[in-house]
Every structure is written in structure tokens, then in C-alpha cells.
């Protein structure tokens, strides 16, 4: 497989990518261009939302994970996953048999991320009671949204709650409780099964910490396949729900839309879907919701039930989880967690440094030069057709114009301009064709009956 390594956990299989331009159009930060006929993601603009993965008709994007065999080196092998994992399975598979199947895969402990949620609820409540802090409080739960704010809404970074995400809390919690029961730190391997690229990146590069507490990150799609395979053998023993004893109704619903916001004191809102989030943050930045106290924002439609590494239908997943939640006690008590670990020590680990802004919209750090570039881009727009066809490799004509003033693209990248120049006798037909091949690759425009929808399609 010819892989093109990009940022984060997201990878492109260059053999599968045909440069169809679907992904460049849906990217919320315009981070993707087609270069030499292949999608190219600019790492510094990517927020890991996975919209490109969803949009790709050729399954050319894939998500890297750690080696499943890594766990063999640990005595205590913990599978840690968010509750949405359970929500993917049809109702005939009980949660006990799913736990059993995970153990069969070679893990010694099975934990849902949301077990110690009572503690997170408590420290979030304390944090949000601080009158001095900038309002509304914006949850740091979804790493794709946190990055989106850093890049596109830098002024709102100060609203982000500086508390770690649930997977950090539970990893710390599990490690401590195992150690209290006699395990040595280096005997414990915690493997996080991720619902998305964003969490993978966040686990690999935790903000404000040198090393992640998690020893390996696994792809939830792969985990689903492996668990299903075990379940189909029919040889799974349903395990006692001992591992679930701290799970609560609030916890199971935490990763679903309104999972956090409904606990907020004061006015709160929950927004899911990255394009909805962008529209709302744009309003928020203009002070259009001064009454708002707490904002839950998630990149995926229906929050983590719609994560890109989940299998099945997100509405069914959401519905199953809400029903499942009813089986558990409403809310856990923080004191119950105290039994296993020293909470004061744990608490200290749960705060992050302030989130720095990383603005990407500016054309130049010097305002005079930025203004010149802006004026030039607007001039260039007079000549581009404005139909946003994507054949130049940029998502819109305006994006191409902006690339041009940054010296990242040329006028001749526009195929309509080339046609016009040919007709005006400014360039030869050969030159125009060469330009196109330079952009899209040699022989890219020869007939090919194997492509999607063509005569010999075989997918």
C-alpha cells in the first residue's frame, strides 16, 4: 500500500485516492488541496473532525492504530472505551456478553470511560462557579472542537474549560485503583478504544503533558469487528457486571448530545455537528448570546454516537444507549469513588494549562502586507469564474485566489482561465494540457473502465 503520511492518526491511501475533490469541499477549515492528483491535508489546519473520511467515496482515508499485540507485555491489560461502543451492538448482544468477548480478546480488565463521571461533574461545577472566568464556559470534551476554536475562533480559547476529558480521568482512576490493589505501575497497560480521529490525536499528544497515561490507542471499528467475531462463535461467557459497578445513568449518556449540558447550572446549550458548531461559534463571538452560561459543543452529528469509527446507524446507537442508561442508578456519588483511590491526588491531575490560540485565517502577520494580499486576492477573483468546481485542487475559487497571493498556486491552475487563454491564443493547446497533467498526474485523463460507476467497476 502506498501511504502518504499526514498529520495525526489520519492517513491517506494514495493508491485509492483519485483526487475526486469531495473531501476538499467538506473540510471545515479548508485544510485540503488536491496536489498531483491526490488529496493533501495541511497538518496545521486540520482539526481531526473526520469530515473528509465521511465524504470520501473511495475509502481512501484510513485511521492508524497501535499494534494489538502491544498489550501482551503487560500483566494487567485494560480495555478502556467510551459507552458508545456498547451502543453499536444490536440488542440481542447483552452488555455482559460484550464484556466477555473483550476479555476473550486478551484483556484482563474492561472499563467504560464514563465510570468515574461523578468526579468530573463535581470539578466542572466548581470550575464554572468562578465568577471571574470568561463566560460562557465552553466544554473541552470534544478535541476536534477545541482545535477548531484555536484555529478559527481564537478569541474564544479563553472560554474553554481547562479540565481534561473523561478518558484522562478514567485512565488515571483505573491506574490508581489497580495500584492500590497491589499492581505495579509498569505492569499496567491501558488501551483506549477510540471513537474518532480527534480523540486518538488527543490521547497521543495530551495538552500540557509530556507523556500520555494511555499505553496504546485502538481503532473502534477494528475493535467492533474483533468483538463481533468472538460473539458469532457463540462461545462467550457473559461476565458478571462487577466491572460496571460504578457506571451511572449520567455516565452512559455523557458522550451523547446534552450529556454534559443538562448538568450545568444556569442557561446551557448543546450543539452537535461541526458545521452547526461553526455557525453558532460565529454568533457567540459577536456576543449574540450574552445570557449563555455553559456550552456543550461536539464535532459529530449526535455527538460520539456519530463518531467516524463507529459502526452502524448513529440514531440507533443513541437510542440504545439512552435505553441502556435507564438500567443504572441516576448519578454516582463522589464518595463511592473514594473507596478505591485517593481523590485529592487524582483531582490535581485533572486540570490543563490554558488553551493557546493558533489563528490560521490571517494572510500575513504584518497588517499592511495582509491588506495588500487581501486586495490582490479580490482582484484575482474578478478573473476566476466563481463556480467553485474544485478542478484546480482548491475547495473554492476564493480559496484558490488566497493560495495564489500566498504563492501556493498559479492562475493557470484554473481550467476555465486556461480555456480562455487558449481561445485568445495566449497559450497552446499542448501547454494547457501539460498544465493539467502537472496538476492531476500523467495519463490521468485516459479512459479507465475500472473507475467507480464505469463499465468494469469492481469494488
Amino acid at each position: 500500500m502506498n501511504t502518504q503520511h499526514m498529520n495525526h492518526a489520519l492517513k491517506l491511501d494514495a493508491d485509492k485516492c483519485i483526487g475526486c475533490t469531495h473531501c476538499i469541499k467538506v473540510c471545515p477549515t479548508e485544510a485540503i488541496r488536491v496536489v498531483n492528483g491526490k488529496a493533501n491535508v495541511q497538518a496545521e489546519r486540520c482539526v481531526d473532525c473526520g469530515e473528509c473520511v465521511r465524504a470520501c467515496p473511495y475509502n481512501a482515508f484510513y485511521v492508524d492504530e497501535d499494534d494489538w499485540a502491544l498489550k501482551e507485555q503487560y500483566k494487567y491489560r485494560v480495555a478502556l472505551f467510551p459507552s458508545v461502543f456498547i451502543g453499536q451492538f444490536a440488542r440481542n448482544h447483552s452488555q455482559e456478553s460484550i464484556y466477555g468477548a473483550i476479555l476473550k480478546l486478551g484483556f484482563t480488565h474492561v472499563y467504560e470511560v464514563e465510570q468515574p463521571i461523578a468526579l468530573l461533574k463535581e470539578i466542572t461545577k466548581e470550575y464554572c462557579a468562578d465568577e471571574e472566568k470568561t463566560k460562557p464556559f465552553i466544554s473541552s470534551y470534544c478535541p476536534a472542537v477545541v482545535r477548531l476554536i484555536q484555529l478559527k475562533f481564537p478569541s474564544l480559547t479563553e472560554n474553554i474549560i481547562n479540565i481534561k476529558a473523561p478518558h484522562d480521568l478514567s485512565a488515571n482512576y483505573i491506574k490508581r485503583s489497580l495500584m492500590n490493589r497491589g499492581a505495579k505501575e509498569d505492569e499496567i497497560g491501558i488501551f483506549y478504544i477510540s471513537p474518532c480521529v480527534a480523540k486518538m490525536a488527543a490521547v497521543k499528544n495530551p495538552i500540557g503533558e509530556k507523556q500520555s497515561i494511555i499505553n496504546g490507542v485502538l481503532n473502534m471499528k477494528e475493535a467492533y469487528n474483533r468483538v463481533m467475531k468472538v460473539l458469532e462463535t457463540g462461545e462467550v461467557e457473559a461476565v458478571a457486571t462487577d466491572f460496571m459497578k460504578r457506571l451511572t445513568r449520567d455516565g452512559v449518556k455523557w458522550g451523547l448530545t446534552t450529556g454534559e449540558s443538562k448538568h450545568a447550572k444556569g442557561k446551557s446549550m448543546a450543539i452537535d455537528g461541526i458545521h452547526n458548531v461553526i455557525k453558532f461559534l460565529d454568533r457567540l463571538e459577536n456576543d449574540e448570546a450574552p445570557w449563555l452560561h455553559f456550552l456543550e459543543v461536539r464535532a459529530c452529528d449526535l455527538s460520539c454516537a456519530g463518531g467516524i469509527l463507529l459502526t452502524g446507524n448513529r440514531f440507533l446507537t443513541d437510542d440504545r444507549l439512552r435505553k441502556r442508561a435507564q438500567k443504572f442508578p441516576a448519578a454516582g456519588k463522589v464518595e463511592d469513588l473514594q473507596v478505591t483511590v485517593d481523590l485529592d491526588e487524582l483531582r490535581k491531575k485533572l486540570y490543563t494549562d490554558p488553551i493557546p490560540p493558533k489563528p490560521i485565517m490571517m494572510l500575513d502577520t504584518d497588517m499592511g502586507r495582509a491588506l495588500e494580499k487581501l486586495a490582490r486576492a479580490r482582484n484575482i477573483m474578478c478573473h476566476l469564474p466563481g463556480i467553485d468546481c474544485g478542478a484546480c485542487g482548491a475547495p473554492t475559487c476564493q480559496a484558490l485566489a488566497e493560495d495564489m497571493v500566498q504563492a501556493k498556486a498559479k492562475m493557470s491552475d484554473c481550467i476555465f482561465l486556461q480555456q480562455t487563454w487558449q481561445r485568445q491564443g495566449k497559450i497552446s493547446a499542448q501547454k494547457a494540457f501539460d498544465n493539467m497533467e502537472n496538476k492531476w498526474g500523467k495519463n490521468r485523463f485516459m479512459p479507465d473502465c475500472n473507475k467507480k460507476g464505469a463499465k468494469n467497476e469492481s469494488l
Binding site: 481564537p154 478569541s155 463571538e285 459577536n286 456576543d287 485565517m361 490571517m362 494572510l363 487581501l374 479580490r378
Partner: protein, 138 residues
């Protein structure tokens, strides 16, 4: 650099278009977030005033490396008493407009608070001209 926007009286659904476009421009220029917010809030209120109180108008935006100048000129009933209009809470907005959440009488005072210079000129039965200046290095 100059940019122009048209505004239609009564069209509340598109009020806010110019301010969101200007916001994008200012982000591209790397203007400080706080200053962007001031400009956007002021321009939005001024846009709404044309929509709510006048028949139609034009917004002219002039950008230079130090500042942004906004000139909003409309055809409309004009403002008979500018001092009165500038008072917090003063509004002639119709009940229908208030119903939509506009007309609290805070627009003009709010505009003044958010910019470095504000000129309001008006001729009754002709129209109103509002000039706003905001410096970037404030």
C-alpha cells in the same frame, strides 16, 4: 481597500450579512479579536437600524493598515432629534419590530461605545448617514 454592501429595509433575515463578511476580512488582516468584536457589534447594530428604520441603504467599508472606516448611508425617514435618538432606551420601533427582538433603544449608544469615532447626520424625510471609525492598535 474598499468594499460595498447593499441593505434592504425590512429584510431582517439578511441583517448581519455585512458584519459577518467584515469580520472575515478583519480576521484575514490579523486584527486583534477584541477590536474585531467591537467592529462587528457596531456594524451589526448599524445594519439593523437601516433594516428596521429606513427603506434602503449602502454600507461602504474602507480598510487601511491603521483603521477601518464604515459609512452607512440610507434613504429613509431620517432622525428628527439626534440627541434624543442617542439616549439609552429611546426607540421608535414598532411593536412588530419589538416582537422580533429588536428595538430596545440600545443600538446607537452601543455603537458609540464600540468605536473610536462616530458621526451621525440626518435629514428628515431624506435619510441618514452614519460614519464610524475604529483604529486597530487600540
Amino acid at each position: 481597500m474598499q468594499v460595498k454592501y447593499q441593505v434592504e429595509g425590512g429584510d431582517f433575515t439578511s441583517a448581519g450579512y455585512a458584519s459577518s463578511q467584515v469580520k472575515k476580512l478583519l480576521k484575514q488582516l490579523n486584527v486583534a479579536p477584541k477590536v474585531i468584536k467591537n467592529v462587528v457589534v457596531a456594524l451589526y447594530e448599524a445594519e439593523v437600524n437601516i433594516v428596521a428604520h429606513a427603506y434602503r441603504g449602502v454600507i461602504e467599508v474602507e480598510l487601511d493598515p491603521q483603521k477601518i472606516t464604515l459609512v452607512l448611508e440610507d434613504e429613509g425617514p431620517g432622525i428628527p432629534n439626534i440627541d434624543l435618538a442617542m439616549q439609552e432606551g429611546f426607540s421608535t420601533a414598532s411593536p412588530a419590530v419589538r416582537e422580533m427582538g429588536f428595538g430596545a433603544g440600545m443600538g446607537l449608544p452601543n455603537i458609540k461605545r464600540n468605536v473610536d469615532d462616530m458621526q451621525l447626520e440626518s435629514q428628515v424625510d431624506k435619510g441618514t448617514r452614519l460614519t464610524l471609525i475604529k483604529f486597530f492598535n487600540a
